[in-house]
Amino acid sequence: MIYANVVNMKSEEFELRDPTKSHENAEQLILNIAQNNCRESYKLLFTQFAPKIKSFMIGQGAKANEAEDIAQDAMLKVWRKAQLFDPKKAKASTWIFTIARNLQIDTIRKQKRQDRFNNEIQAESYEADTSEKMISEQSASQVKEVIKQLPQEQLQVLKLSFYEDLSHSQIAQSLSIPVGTVKSRLRLALGRLKAVKSIFGEF
């Protein structure tokens, strides 16, 4: 079984932060907002996630002020759509990430004056992304575990492809390794993540 190999491969340099240890549980904060319009919870959630969204957007090539705006808009959307959040279907970070990413697509598209291509497509995908195709809490913690156990070299490529707006050949250049190596490391990492799907079958 692939997964057994994965857990045996320790990577010590990398540790995912557990939001439940250092912060209020993010899922609970969103539920508080949904149930009571809880402003205190929103403050905590904003403080926790807005700087991360900003940082992610800057990595994707946004200017600081654009990234700040996307972070603001994404968090506002979190407030307004909190009722749609279902902790059984998604972790808070995944839900917020898909909201931010879809906003980013909208924003970039508007900048490129490509909005003739119908913003409804994005609206629809937003609903789809936030309602159905999410994975269970159990699978989500497996995903976290797989990332934690990835060999450092695979994690590095996975992170660079995610955080930075870089092509495979740019990643290869920045690490001074052949493009083929970048592709094979990424493929291996994705294969390990995907194994979560086959272990649990149904989400």
């Binding site: 995912l16 932060r17 939001p19 402003r39 929103y42 403050k43 403080t47 807005a50 700087p51 991360k52 900003k54 940082s55 992610f56 990595g59 994707q60 700040e68 603001q72 968090m75 506002l76 307004r80 998604a90 970070s93 995944t94 990430f97 898909t98 931010a100 990413r101 980013q104 490509q114 003739r116 291509f117 119908n118 913003n119 409804e120 497509i121 609206a123 629809e124 995908s125 992304d129 195709k133 999410m134 699978s139 989500a140 995903v143 990332i147 992170k159 492809s161 995610f162 955080y163 707006d165 092509s167 592709k183 990424l186 493929r187 994705l190 993540l193 995907k194 979560v196 799907k197 989400f203």
Partner: protein, 217 residues
């Protein structure tokens, strides 16, 4: 369409590029449409998005402006005045109803590519990349041809055989310039595909042009 019958899926790398927001508009459209039709790839996407969520959680934040929290708290007091958008009407092309992911997409007038082969352009993107709907009459032979650097095809209706492989509604296929092939269309069903290619359309290769007089094209 029977989702179980989908035999040709998206590569992991393509789904990851979708998560990381690295695809061109046409590629994005094809990936989004395939995922809406394919439970298997939708699950892979869910896993990869969960990975994205974990990586986002792990990122070192960059401090927001000093007044960011005040601004955020003020904004949530504003009424949500977003005007609900009308549900886009179902799109149709060549007599086929298109999947919901293509609703409202602007499809330009179709034009003739060859006997029994028509295309309806959707977008010309960076570096003359093309996104279009391709319609081929059932039973029409396709001349041997190669591809631009990267070409993605999603079968929306009908199907074709290519060597030992059969491609039917919902199936995804990606080709590059190393592949030369001559797909055989199903005899009894017209075929509609959504295609993205990263260069201008070359309907036939030099070989195709040479064969033209002999092939009734």
């Amino acid at each position: 369409m029977n989702p179980q019958a989908i035999a040709h899926h998206l590569d992991d790398e393509i789904i990851w590029d979708f998560v990381c927001h690295k695809l061109e508009f046409g590629e994005n459209l094809i990936v989004r449409t395939h995922i809406s039709l394919c439970a298997e790839c939708a699950k892979t996407l869910a896993v990869f998005e969960a990975a994205g969520g974990e990586l986002l959680n792990d990122i070192n934040g960059i401090e927001m402006n000093d007044d960011a929290l005040d601004l955020a708290l003020a904004r949530i007091e504003l009424k949500d005045v977003e005007i609900p958008k009308a549900k886009p009407s179902k799109s149709e092309a060549f007599g086929f109803d298109l999947p919901a992911t293509l609703s409202g997409i602007e499809i330009k007038n179709r034009h003739f590519l060859g006997p029994n082969v028509w295309i309806a352009p959707i977008e010309e993107g960076k570096n003359k990349s093309q996104t279009y709907l391709l319609w081929i009459k059932g039973g029409q032979d396709i001349l041997p041809h190669t591809h631009t650097k990267r070409e993605m095809t999603l079968v929306l209706s009908g199907g074709f055989k290519d060597g030992d492989n059969s491609y039917n509604a919902g199936d995804f296929v990606v080709c590059d310039d190393s592949i030369s092939h001559a797909p055989i269309m199903l005899a009894d069903e017209d075929c509609l595909c959504l295609v993205y290619q990263d260069g201008p359309i070359k309907p036939q290769t030099i070989l195709g042009h040479l064969l033209k007089p002999f092939a009734r094209i």
